[in-house]
Amino acid sequence: MGEKKIVKRIRVNLDRCNGCRACEMACSSFHARPKYSSINPARSRIRVVTDEINDEYVPIRATDYTKAGCDGRRVYTINGKDYSECSFCGSVCPTRNLFKEPDSGLPLKCDLCESDPPVDEPLCVQACSLDALTYEEVEEEVQDEVKLGGVEIGLKSLVDRYGIQELADAFARMSQKG
């Protein structure tokens, strides 16, 4: 049985986007450690998939890590413009080089800027003065599920890459070294 919960959502209005990528700037800045200390859109958990010639500007957020890619062959035509399947997909997959921590290659995931103290709105929404991104909280019936946190997702991708045994050995070695 599900229960009622407040669900946080970011609504994306593609018609309002001017392609400026301030959302990427703000996200990478907020998630830097210490906070705001560096800017690097490649670390952002939101990216504006851009193709100027096709007039395509789609801000997508990093969702789940998956070890398998898809063929991405579907093409959607909306109002005369072609979008690829990847244009709307937030998965961190091997098929494309998106939402991967540039130093480690580990997957990134949008956490809606959950932090302590909490922020009014996710930073990408705050940075979007054109309201292409808007924030809403709605009450919904949701199924209970165990959500993986950032560390677990990172570990899972390492397990997929190296196998659990090799990872466990590495951990053992590292703990001994202190």
Binding site: N18, C20, R21, S29, D55, P102, Q126
Partner: protein, 655 residues
């Protein structure tokens, strides 16, 4: 740790295929900030005074501004500098978009390109991995086509690309470098072609650090909101469809004909429909909430334009907006500057009508003027027949054609095509800006002080209300309140106004700001987002440089003199500093020369327009003094005009 900047220059020698990442001296950041300021110093230091612009010795420099890549909104304009084949002086060129910030994220503040590639190549910068790649398959390709091919073959859809088209490859003087729907004009396109560099592609995934992160970030969120809401910044022509200003006041054809009653309500309605029926989106540049670029799909061809760029082709051809929509997609793919190219074309048409060019020069020249514009554009980009001459721009072409053609070159300064404006009475600050400007186009020099007096005291008061936070000094408000007639303003005011207008552009072009948020825009509405009173704090928070208003103003003076020194080194003198003869109908030679003396005096320059030893030394530009003494440009005893003859200053002081 370096803040705001990366601290590295990418040096690319195309002759030898050598690539180096060179650490820079932070002292020069403090003295010249970045962007065009430092580029001018590099050109001064490294390009010999007699080097031909089309020689391997010439450098082509792409610079990010100091604030690119930081959270500061609207800092995204890339400066492209070289020695221009049009003027043989500094080419001042800027483009919006995403190029500069991406360069920063790749770990470089600028790219300095020297030498000449043996065959057509492109540069691929992927963080520390930099490659010179074969571009023979891109030869003759349009700029957007090139961009798409490069992104595909590198499998890097997010790479930022700047490319030249056929015009640049053929060293057409009016060629531009195109990046997305932004374009770097005024000289660097043909030099890029001469270096056989088709394109530069960049992908950067590194961090940029700022000195006081939290404070800067909070300040920037506020600035973004203000920018988005304010009608006093950005390109108002993106939203205001009344464009009577350009059409009724600027000159059509070869900068000849004013059509004072051209604009009408009916026309405005019709043109508004043409625009919105075919418009896909209004687009912004990196980290900017404005929507200045209109992206159009017309008859299946896509292109983008901003501001007056939509007017130049149909005004050269005495046509309407649909003509520009017809030709712009082609001109853009060829990589042609839409300011100077239509003038070179209109100049050619006028020479044909005057009988100086004939059917022998222009076989099968069409009857319709629109078809003529297309005909000459195609000849120019291919350098075919008469196109090979017109491709050298109006000034050079006039001298090549001879036979009286020189008289039709009536709208250039220092050999560069100016905006087609022909007015009645002299506007003294504009005389100074057009005469002495080294950014070559008035839009790159004017902007903080209005062009004309406002008619009523109430309107003036309303205007200066918004000016309060913006003006460097109360005296500007006083001068504006007292200004009644365009041509009646004191020399003292004219010099200071010109200086302030220049200051904001020189700071913008070194910090990387867009003029629509500051330097160009204050004259229309007064309420800009960036100005001399808030720039120092932003520079301090982002770059960690101790900065206040006085120090930033000194920095402007230093950059201004650095650019001056570069051009003086290449031969610029007083004799070159004159607006087109017919820019104003009423001229007073004696007054103008006195005004010019006063201005040189104000700047600490000699009567010949050269910064004195005292001026250079006081601005910590001793290395310029040294070179000028060595090469005989200065003896060290030079003085400014008033020091030369103190009595004269007294005489002209009252004007």
């Amino acid at each position: 740790m370096r803040y705001a900047e990366t601290g590295y220059t990418l040096e690319v020698d195309l002759t030898r295929g050598n690539i180096e990442k060179v650490e820079t001296d932070p002292r020069w950041t403090e003295l010249l900030l970045g962007g065009q300021g430092i580029a001018a110093k590099i050109l001064f230091d490294r390009v010999p005074p007699d080097a031909d612009p089309f020689s391997p010795e010439n450098l082509l420099i792409f610079s990010a501004g100091l604030l690119h890549g930081t959270p500061v909104p609207g800092a995204n304009r890339t400066a492209v500098n070289t020695i221009s084949p049009v003027t043989n002086l500094l080419a001042h060129s800027l483009m919006g978009g995403f190029f500069g910030p991406e360069l920063k994220y790749a770990g470089y503040d600028r790219i300095v390109i020297s030498g000449k590639a043996p065959k057509l190549v492109y540069l691929w910068i992927n963080n520390d991995k930099v490659e010179i790649r074969d571009a023979s398959h891109l030869s003759g390709k349009g700029v957007h086509e090139t961009t798409q091919i490069i992104r595909k073959e590198l499998n890097e859809p997010a790479a930022q690309v700047a490319a030249i088209g056929l015009a640049g490859e053929n060293r057409v003087y009016t060629a531009s470098i195109e990046h997305g729907f932004a374009s770097a004009a005024r000289g660097p396109g043909p030099v890029m072609g001469d270096k056989r560099l088709k394109a530069i592609a960049i992908r950067g995934t590194k961090d940029i650090y700022v000195a006081q992160p939290q404070k800067l970030f909070e300040l920037c969120i506020g600035l973004r909101e203000k920018m988005a809401e304010s009608m006093d910044v950005g390109d108002w022509m993106a939203v205001d469809e009344d464009d009577s200003f350009h059409h009724d006041n600027f000159a059509w054809g070869n900068a000849r004909t004013r059509r004072k009653d051209f604009w009408s309500e009916e026309l405005q309605e019709r043109w508004t429909r043409i625009k919105y029926d075919n418009m896909l989106r209004q687009k912004g540049c990196y980290n900017c909430s404005k929507k200045c670029i209109n992206v159009i799909s017309y008859k299946g061809r896509k292109f983008g334009y901003k501001c007056y760029g939509k007017d130049t082709y149909h005004m050269a051809a005495f046509k309407e907006l649909d003509f520009t929509f017809e030709i712009l997609p082609f001109a853009m793919e060829y990589g042609l500057d839409s300011y100077s190219t239509p003038q070179a074309i209109a100049f050619g048409i006028e020479l044909y009508e005057a009988g100086i060019l004939t059917d022998k020069d222009m076989p099968d020249f069409p009857e319709d003027i629109g078809e003529r514009v297309f005909y000459l554009m195609e000849k120019i980009v291919r350098r075919e027949g008469i196109g090979d001459i017109l491709a050298n721009g109006v000034h050079k072409a006039a001298r090549q054609i001879g036979n009286g053609a020189e008289a039709y070159d009536h709208n250039t300064v220092k050999g560069f095509e100016q905006l087609p404006i022909k007015l009645g009475k002299l506007n003294p600050p504009y005389f100074l800006m057009i005469a002495t400007g080294e950014k070559m186009a008035i839009t790159q020099i004017e902007g903080s002080f209005p062009q004309d007096p406002l008619p009523t005291i109430e309107e003036r008061e309303a205007f200066i209300k918004k000016w309060d936070v913006v003006v460097p000094d109360e005296k500007f408000k006083k001068w504006f309140m007292e200004w009644e007639k365009r041509n009646e303003i004191s020399n003292e005011a004219s010099c200071a106004i010109t200086d302030w207008n220049e200051a904001m552009h020189f700071l913008d072009d070194s910090l990387g700001f867009c003029g629509f948020l500051s330097s160009f825009r204050g004259q229309f509405g007064g309420g800009v987002v960036y100005h001399i009173n808030n720039m120092p704090e932003i520079v301090t928070l982002a770059a960690g440089l101790e900065m206040d208003k006085d120090k930033l103003w000194r920095t402007f003076q230093r950059i201004r003199n650095m650019v001056r020194a570069l051009n003086v080194k290449r031969g610029l003198r007083r004799a070159d500093e004159k607006p087109p003869e017919d820019h104003w109908a009423v001229r007073d030679h004696e007054f103008e020369q006195e005004l010019l003396d006063d201005y040189y005096d104000f700047k600490g320059w000699t009567r010949d327009g050269i910064p004195t030893k005292e001026t250079l030394d006081s601005l910590e530009l001793g290395f310029v003094t040294e070179e000028f003494l060595k090469t005989g440009v200065l003896t060290g005893n030079e003085v400014t005009p008033s020091q030369e003859n103190p009595a004269e200053k007294e005489k002209s002081g009252g004007r």
